[in-house]
């Protein structure tokens, strides 16, 4: 009897010990993920659940509350970064993480990521660090000749100003013609002081539309050297154009203190004819205007070329084939096998279709061999895209995105781009021949806590301060004087030294990639 009781007790003990292990075996592995773009989104939509089901991995999404760059810096300093981090690829934070030894060398694991190798192809060679290893994978990589910048004008006002036929024509306007339209609109609306709204100043560059119209690239390449754009002879042409519009009261005088909400507010009201920037930036105000009953109160893209231009090809749509973000696995990752499996699945065509098209058979399917959205998916997306994305999860999680058409049926990587609305149609029709690959210019700046990095930041700070002051100068003479002052201050901040540093990096990169400069003037 004693033996039996002892045996039973022993069995119970073994079972008690084994039960949690058995339960753990069924429990999905959890991977923590910091996505700088995720905002306040929660990972609980149908696509998130399907992704977890297919990979067997539970994702603990870490919110980038506040400034994502600051959070990434703090996590690096505290060594408390999560398993996977998604960072801004153009920022030097990527190099800081690599230099700190915080990222897993993915080159050692490429044999376990067949989908990554197949999908990324040559991109993997281009995103290698200086030691020849891959520490991150690009997001939004691939050649993507989609249009970006132009003059995005109110369609109804355009019809009033030039007539229906010209408003629908793909023929670009010359700068003189377009400026005359701005002046005509301004004369007809004497109460407005923002006929043309432009995006608030960013850092290190001028407005993309004016830059593209004047053939300005992120850097000026001349006689085998790379310089800051301020040295490009055409730089001041762009500044003079903006300054002239400012002085004539056409350019929104408060463009420097706008933010996206204030800008959208202005664009949604009467008294604005055009916006200079990316065509998708006007979607929200266009929806507001059209919801008010004005079917033609939509902002549509138009191309403007310099007077006497020999060609209408302008660098209006610089996009990096190496993408916008960098996604890396950190050395804090306890379950590397699971992280690699997750990355490889997301990067695969099946994973991409799940994230960007939805669940096959429910949200989309092949019709005559072509991916086709099902039901009223497109209508629901066009009616209220942000709510649609939040609720369905389709295109909510944009990770490892290959920004090129599908190889099998040539459909776009995202479902909604398969059907073009009027805004996108006009952008494709009018903003032609503007694409160039800006990958060669990305990440040239000195990184980390070095004197060179400090000098680079000093140079950029000077530029950022002078750009709006030049545009807002009361006379063209003062505008030119500010330009001379800016050059002198940039020089004293170390511009020439930084240019020499970046020039070396740039040409070494071109040699490594076997490329010629995209635009040497």
């Amino acid at each position: 009897m004693k033996k039996l009781v002892g045996l039973m007790l022993a069995a119970m003990m073994v079972l008690t010990v084994m039960m949690p292990i058995a339960a753990m075996a069924d429990e999905p592995v959890t991977i923590s993920f910091f996505d700088k773009n995720s905002g306040v989104r929660t990972f609980d939509d149908p696509i998130a659940k399907e992704l977890e089901a297919r990979t067997g991995i539970k994702l603990d999404l870490i919110s980038p509350s506040g400034n994502p760059g600051e959070k990434l810096s703090l996590m690096l300093a505290g060594l408390n970064y999560p398993d996977i981090v998604l960072m801004d690829r153009s920022s030097d934070i990527v190099n800081q993480y690599i230099e700190a030894g915080a990222l897993v060398n993915l080159s050692d694991y490429l044999d376990q990521m067949p989908n990554v190798v197949a999908m990324y192809g040559d991109t993997l060679n281009k995103t290698r660090y200086s030691d020849g290893n891959n520490y991150y994978l690009s997001n939004w990589y691939g050649y993507d000749p989609d249009p970006v910048n132009g003059f995005i004008c109110r369609y109804d006002e355009m019809i009033d100003l030039v007539g229906q036929e010209r408003a629908d024509s793909a023929e670009p306007f010359t700068w003189s013609e377009f400026k005359a339209l701005l002046e005509k609109y301004q004369a007809a609306h004497p109460d407005t002081n923002h006929t043309l709204v432009i995006g608030e100043p960013g850092t290190g560059g001028i407005n993309g539309t004016f830059a593209g119209m004047n053939s300005l690239y992120p850097y000026y390449v001349h006689e085998g050297k790379l310089y800051f754009t301020v040295r490009d002879p055409q730089f001041m042409d762009a500044i003079h154009q903006m300054n002239e519009l400012y002085r004539e009261g056409i350019l929104d005088p408060e463009w420097t203190s706008n933010n996206s909400e204030l800008r959208n507010q202005k664009l949604s009201n009467e008294g604005v004819f055009a916006f200079a920037g990316a065509f998708w930036d006007t979607w929200t105000p266009s929806n507001t205007l059209m919801a008010g009953g004005n079917a033609n109160g939509e902002y549509l893209a138009y191309k403007v070329i310099p007077d006497g231009a020999a060609s209408a090809d302008l660098p209006l749509s610089g996009r990096s084939s190496l993408g916008w973000d960098a996604i890396a696995i950190t050395k804090n990752c306890k379950n590397l096998e699971a992280a690699i499996r997750f990355v490889d699945y997301c990067a695969s065509q099946e994973g991409q279709d799940l994230l960007l098209w939805g669940i096959q058979g429910k949200d989309w399917d092949f019709v005559d061999g072509v991916r086709t959205p099902l039901g009223d998916i497109i209508e629901r997306y066009q009616a209220d895209n942000s709510n649609f994305v939040d609720q369905t999860g389709i295109t909510k999680w944009t990770w490892f995105v290959k920004n090129s058409p599908h190889e099998d049926d040539n459909t776009p990587c995202r479902f909604w781009a398969s059907v073009r609305d009027r805004s996108t149609t006009y952008a494709y029709q009018n903003l032609t021949n503007g694409y160039y690959d800006s990958a060669e210019f990305a990440g040239l700046e000195p990184a980390g806590s070095t004197l060179e990095a400090l000098m680079y930041q000093g140079v950029i700070d000077v530029f950022d301060q002078y750009y709006p002051r030049m545009v807002n100068a009361p006379t063209v003479e003062q505008c030119d004087a500010l330009y001379a002052e800016m050059l002198a201050n940039m020089e004293s901040a170390g511009m020439s030294d930084i240019e020499a540093y970046m020039s070396d990096v740039y040409f070494a990169r071109l040699a490594l990639w076997g490329l010629e400069p995209v635009a040497s003037k």
Partner: protein
């Protein structure tokens, strides 16, 4: 005499006194630990200002003490480049803020004290206290909207005929210093007034009654009774305000500033943040922060000394 207590008994030895008060010392331990861990231990990081610190997988302390020692390199860079502009902006904003925000709560507290209607007093007190609880995100948006080209301030000035053209407040650097000073005052005035009100409430009523019998007017009662009585409080708050003169704000500059006026809006805190955290230049950011701390310390000590000489009352 010094070793003899007033009651004639010999003063106990230190050991005996420690033993007597052992429970009080035990109660003090968490506080001491808190001060050491939270206030003093992080100060080891100040060493970063003299090195080229780069985080790695080796851990914080290893990286900190094995980083390359660069001496005063970061300080030299700061003094040779942006020091002048940053200090000008910091001091201009601070002095203007001090000019407005220091007397404003004293005036408010004295005026509230003179009010007869308790209801009105409470209403004004609550209304003036409320902005203290509004986050800078909301406050900044209020100022941005009110002071925009089409905002209520421009509308008012235009309708009164005071200006012919709308003023673009956020396009002109020097305006920004005034805007920050006014915003700081608006936000903190009610809160600081409470401190003065509590000091005023401690004044003996008999003093006012005696002064009234002697024929002192209301203004004279304020001048000769209220203000001299709250002078120690005024002194202490002045010392604290001078000590914090280099901490002129952070969120308000970040939220209301823009690139067009960056050469007027960038102050020590925003500068250290931009370089130290946003750009990951930890050593440089620490150097700028350390410089600010040293100057603030000197200012507090000087203000304390001067106040002690003038008033017979000081913070320490």
């Amino acid at each position: 005499m010094s070793n003899v207590a007033l009651d004639g008994k010999r003063k106990k030895s230190l050991k005996a006194r420690l033993l007597d008060q052992k429970y009080l010392f035990l109660l003090m331990i968490p506080g001491v630990i808190w001060v050491l861990v939270i206030c003093y231990a992080p100060m080891t990081g100040l060493y970063m200002a003299f090195t080229n610190y780069r985080p790695s997988q080796n851990g914080y302390f290893y990286d900190l003490f094995n980083a390359k020692f660069v001496g005063l390199q970061w300080f030299q860079y700061f003094f040779s480049k942006d020091f002048g502009m940053i200090m000008r902006n910091t001091l201009a904003t601070s002095v203007l803020t001090l000019l407005f925000s220091f007397p404003a709560p004293i005036i408010l507290a004295v005026m509230l004290n003179e009010l007869k209607s308790i209801r009105l007093k409470k209403f004004i007190q609550t209304a003036s206290y409320l902005p203290y609880f509004i986050s800078w995100v909301i406050a900044a948006n209020i100022f941005l909207t009110f002071l925009s080209g089409g905002g209520i301030v421009n509308d008012l000035l235009m309708s009164l005929g005071l200006i012919k053209e709308r003023i673009l407040f956020f396009q002109h650097g020097p305006y920004f210093w005034w805007i920050i000073a006014i915003a700081n005052t608006w936000k903190g005035m009610g809160y600081n007034a409470i401190i003065y009100l509590s000091a005023i409430s401690g004044i003996d009523e008999q003093l006012y009654e005696a002064a009234s019998i002697d024929g002192a007017s209301r203004v004279k009662r304020i001048w000769h009774i209220t203000l001299p009585t709250i002078r120690p409080t005024i002194s202490i708050l002045l010392i604290l305000a001078i000590g914090g003169i280099l901490s002129t704000g952070f969120e308000q500059q970040l939220l209301m500033g823009n690139n067009a006026i960056l050469n007027y809006s960038d102050v020590l805190d925003t500068y250290a943040y931009r370089y130290g955290l946003a750009k990951g230049m930890y050593s440089y950011g620490t150097a700028v922060g350390l410089f600010k701390s040293i100057v603030s310390f000197i200012l507090v000590m000087s203000a304390n000394k001067i106040t002690a000489k003038l008033n017979d009352s000081a913070l320490f």
